[in-house]
Each structure stands twice: as C-alpha cells, then as structure tokens.
Symmetry: C2
Subunit: 179 residues, 2 copies
C-alpha cells in the first residue's frame, strides 16, 4: 500500500483521515453511480432511436423553455455541429419546435412539443425514481450533504446553472448580461 502513496500524499495531507483508499472509493462511486443513473434512460431512448445527446437536449429545452440555440450550447458545452445534428432530428420528428424570437429575429427559440414533453417526462421520471429510491435507502439526512458536494465538484463558473430557481420567466443568458 505504501508504494502507491507518493503522488497523492500531499493532496491527502490536507484532509486528515481522507486516505487514498477512501478517495479512490469516491471516484469509483461516481463512476458506477453515473453509469447506472444514465443507463436507465439510455434504454428508453433506444426505443425512440435516440441517444444520450438527444436526452440532454430534450431535458434542457424542457427545463428552459424558449432557450436560444447558443444558450443551449453554453449549457451543454458541445459544438454547434454536434448539437445541430441532434436538434435537426428532434425537430424533424416533432419533439422540438423552433420559433423565431420576435425581438431579435436572428434567434431561434426552442420549445418541446407535447410529444417532446411526454418523452422528457418519461425519461426524467425514471431518473427521479432512482434518485428517490437512493434518498430513501440512504436516509433523507444524507441529501443535503450529497447536494452540497455535487455542487462543489462543479466548476465554479457553472454552479449558477443549478440552483435557487423557483424563479420567474426564463431569460436568455446573453440578454441577462446586457440588461
């Protein structure tokens, strides 16, 4: 065990009791949990001929109705071309609608159709079921710590993307910066 600790010992020195073994277990928990968390939705998506990229697009369009393409790119952090293929499919098959922004006619605002809402809900319900099961299994007391650490793992400049909502109408990010 000693021979493993060279590169990591400085890191772990800052946290008493957090030895390499425990840290590695956390890396593994993240790997397996995320794999199983997404795997369930992947199975549903396959029935529709879609993949995980479609899911992400559907999810964030549903979550941010009237989002613009560039704002969606900002959330997903993929290239325009990657999103384009996915979005074209979703629009062609009637899951997503596009409308021109009346105040800036360059922008295309994205919305889920009824069909899209139904699919989004099906996917989200599955994932929520797993999360709720985990909350019940581990105990509700664990939830706040779970959320706090997940949030802290996220790059600081993206933490605002999850949070204190309950808010009013969705406004474009770029708009928000301007006024």
């Amino acid at each position: 065990m000693e021979h493993r600790n060279h590169a990591l010992c400085q890191l772990t020195a800052s946290l008493r009791g957090q030895d390499e073994e425990k840290l590695r277990q956390v890396l593994e928990l993240l790997f397996f949990a995320y794999r199983d968390f997404t795997g369930e939705a992947d199975a549903v998506l396959a029935d529709f001929g879609f993949g995980r990229a479609h899911h992400r697009a559907i999810y964030f369009i549903g979550r941010n109705p009237n989002i613009s393409v560039s704002d969606l790119l900002g959330i997903l952090k993929i290239t325009k071309q990657s999103l384009s293929r996915v979005l074209t499919q979703l629009i062609d098959e009637g899951y997503v609608r596009q409308e021109t922004d009346s105040t800036d006619r360059r922008r295309r605002l994205l919305l889920l159709s009824d069909k899209g809402v139904a699919l989004e809900r099906q996917l989200t319900a599955r994932q929520c079921r797993r999360v709720i099961g985990a909350f019940e299994n581990a105990g509700i007391d664990s939830v706040s710590g779970f959320r706090a650490i997940l949030r802290a793992i996220i790059d600081p400049e993206d933490r605002h993307r999850v949070g204190r909502r309950e808010a009013g109408p969705q406004v474009s990010e770029t708009r928000r910066l301007v006024g």
Copy 2:
C-alpha cells in the same frame, strides 16, 4: 408549474418536501458534476492520445492488479471488442502488461507497467484534487451522506464493487464464486 407534475407526483408523494424542482436540481447536479469531474482527466488523456475508455481501463487495472480480461469486462460492462481496441493500444504503447495465469493458462492477467502507473497516478491525482476541494468546500460533514447516496444510486448487484476493501490479495471474481 402545475402542468408539469402529473407524471412525477406519485413519485414525489413518497417523500415529503421532495418536489419536482428539487429532484430536477439533483439530476442537473449529477450531470454537471460528472461532466466536470471527467473533463479534467480527459484533457490529460488527450495529451497521450487516449480517451475516457483508456482511462477506465487503466484505472481498474491499476486498482485490481492481475485482473483477467473477463473480470475487467464485468466491471466496465462494455463488449469485448470495445475493450479489445483500447487494451491493444495500451499494451502496444507499453502502459499495460499481460501475463498468462500460471494456474489457468487461458487467462491473461493485466498489470500496469511503470509508465502505466505514472499515468494512472496523474489522472487519479487530478480527480482526487477536485474531490478533496469539494469536500473542503462543502464541509467534511457532508461526505458520509454523499457517499451513502452515490452508493444507493448504483444497481444493487454492483454495489459490492465499491467498498469495504483494505482487503487482502485480489482474487478473480469467477474464482471467488467457485472457491
């Protein structure tokens, strides 16, 4: 907000106070946290001409020295062909060594070379640094809940893969079933 709750209300009924908004925030925390957690290692891997699949193979070989190919497949849950390409590259470039199991000469036992250990450590150190930072940021009190819920998200039949180690020599899973 009301129109969104049909599919999920039965689910949430089982947890008082866990409304759809909070559940969705958890889904999003998982998405962003995992993206940033893996993104850092991805950047290092790109310098070596490798991808995330190489990382997973290196990680679990490092973690389970002398693991057999089929046991590694059991952990990664990918097809033999998918692993094969990655493994061939890693062996050709000298990050992974293969040795024939002396007790069952059909099996190839996988080991990291010194080069492989160095790369594994570099990748793991980055991810640990992020996790430690999150622990410090969110507070150590949050850690046990974080771990408990991640574990509970994992499919029950795979939870044994992360855990109470500190154990003795690695033994093949299939062997373990037999003896």
